[in-house]
């Protein structure tokens, strides 16, 4: 395990934290994320399991995370970066991990993050005719949205 940790530490700008056995966090700055992913693939992290976003609204940031897996080392490495919440843009990772393409499409719809280099960024994916705030953002109030758009249905036998 320490062998692979040392290799990751060799990637420029990577801050490595071992969470527990088989789980490593690799924190990088926004401008280094694509080169880090490229280097991670070179050292054996062949699989992107999931790419998604955490809305850190108090810090006015979006945390983008990529869960990678190496069959050789049997380790998950989680590459994380933080971008500004205002006019958020990331670069596509789909040339390195093809499965990133659809995760990025989902991210752009659910969080309103533009993905440079991904031609499907911004195209409708799961939602239909959505005109409100991107729904996975913390400032989107799903209860308020539901009360404004749907009629409350009383259960049978319940007093009106």
């Amino acid at each position: 395990m320490m062998d692979i940790v040392d290799k990751i530490k060799g990637i420029e700008g990577a801050k490595v934290t071992v969470q527990r056995e088989n789980r490593i966090f690799v924190d990088v700055s926004e401008d280094k994320v694509i080169s880090t992913l490229y280097n991670m693939k070179l050292i054996g992290f062949h699989q992107l399991s999931v790419q998604n976003v955490i809305d850190r609204i108090k810090d006015n940031k979006f945390e983008i995370f990529y869960v990678l897996y190496s069959r050789e080392y049997k380790i998950n490495a989680i590459v994380r970066t933080w971008i500004d919440r205002e006019n958020p843009v990331i670069k596509t990772a789909d040339k390195i991990y093809p499965s990133a393409h659809t995760w990025e499409r989902e991210i752009s719809e659910m969080f309103g993050i533009k993905v440079d280099g991904n031609e499907d960024s911004g195209k409708p994916f799961i939602l239909e005719n959505w005109k409100d705030l991107p729904p996975m953002r913390k400032d989107f109030d799903s209860v308020k949205y539901s009360s404004e758009h749907f009629v409350f249905r009383h259960s049978e036998g319940e007093n009106e």
Binding site: R23, S49, I54, V67, R71, K74, N76, H101, T102
Partner: protein
């Protein structure tokens, strides 16, 4: 001059595995492009989880995969336990393994029926749907519910097994092993099955790795990768089992891998029942649900589903509700990165069995 046309398969089509749509463009009966169209099952589970207490989410998460709900309970529970630093009791580890393998066996039985149906072999479909019910009856005895169990929860399992349940379970295993011979005779040794699926929709080893395949697609291409072996959870590290692999990567190989995995699951259940501690706690006590604060942090917990790697990325801010939960279902990658590519060049009549051989589960995509 050739002229192409568009065709929708699904959301209401017997050849689509669930509420999902596929828009294909054809020339004659040859597919020239395929695009998945998700969203019919989107119920905003990830958003809904942020507004509910940890224990309340147990009612939501099994619904992320209808045919195999228990993987969600296990991955969710493991993520919470990871953040809280909880080790579950030994007996609970074995019970989780048994439940997960029973769910896997039920899923493969269900899948077999769907797959045979797409090839017009409805006898197997009727047999296997009926046989799946015996597994659901066993679930009903341990938790009162047939499909959505809410049985695996943080700290272990909800309650101990009822008296005599293990004997009934072993009876089911014995019955299914005998039944597999019938399945082989009517379907897996059937030349029609072989003719229709051999060499169809090949995913090579290199492609499977490059495209991020997991589960039977990867195993059918010759890669023995399985979370149960590579990052063992529950009681898998105490059990002896092999990961089946084939090399052709076609629709036939993926079907055969699932058939062997079903047998594998039955063997694992037998071993787990034999090795399981006969007494002991099944739940590491958790706090009162309203004061159940999970320490701040983030983690990724994963299990092996019938389709591949299934994971939960969980973030806690130290309160009683998760700050963020992201679900990773194998079908997300298998549909958009793999199915859309391998369907090109195939014939219309093969589209349905190719999709079922890739086992795309729409609720894993929509969530």
């Amino acid at each position: 001059m050739s002229k192409s046309y568009e065709l929708f398969i699904g959301p209401n089509h017997p050849g689509i595995p669930g509420n999902f749509s596929l828009k294909i463009e054809l020339e004659g009966d040859t597919v020239i492009s395929a695009k998945g169209d998700p969203g019919y099952l989107h119920r905003a589970f990830e958003k809904a989880m942020e507004g509910r207490y940890y224990i309340q989410n147990l009612a939501l998460i099994p619904r992320i995969c209808v045919p195999e709900p228990d993987i969600n309970e296990a991955a969710y529970a493991m993520a919470v336990e990871d953040l809280m630093g909880v080790e579950i009791p030994e007996r609970a580890k074995y019970i989780r393994t048994i439940v997960l393998e029973l769910a896997r066996a039920a899923n493969y039985t269900f899948w077999m029926g769907g797959f045979a149906g797409t090839l017009g072999l409805y006898t197997l479909a009727q047999w296997s749907f009926g046989d799946r019910d015996y597994a659901l009856d066993l679930f009903a005895e341990i938790c009162g519910a047939r499909v959505y169990h809410m049985y695996i929860w943080p700290g272990g399992v909800r309650r101990d097994l009822p008296p005599g349940w293990e004997d009934k379970l072993l009876g089911y295993v014995k019955y299914m092993k005998e039944r597999l011979i019938d399945y082989d005779n009517i379907f897996f040794k059937n030349v029609m099955f072989k003719y229709r699926t051999k060499g169809i929709a090949v995913v090579t080893k290199e492609q499977a790795i490059e495209w991020g395949a997991t589960g039977p697609i990867l195993k059918a291409a010759g890669v023995a990768q399985d979370v149960r072996k590579d990052d063992p959870y529950a009681a898998y590290e105490y059990l002896d089992f092999e990961i089946p692999t084939l090399t052709d990567g076609d629709s036939w190989s993926r079907a055969m891998i699932r058939r062997w995995e079903l047998e594998n699951s039955l063997n694992i259940i037998e071993q787990a029942v034999k090795k399981m501690p006969k007494k002991g706690p099944v739940w590491e006590k958790m706090p009162n649900p309203l004061k159940w604060y999970v320490p701040e942090g983030e983690t990724y917990a994963k299990v092996e589903s019938a389709r591949g790697e299934h994971g939960f990325y969980m973030v806690s801010d130290g309160t009683g509700k998760p700050y963020r939960v992201a679900v990773r279902g194998a079908s997300h990658t298998h549909m958009f990165t793999i199915a859309e590519k391998v369907l090109i060049g195939q014939r219309l009549a093969d589209v349905s069995h190719i999709l079922v051989s890739l086992d795309v589960c729409p609720p894993e995509i929509d969530r």
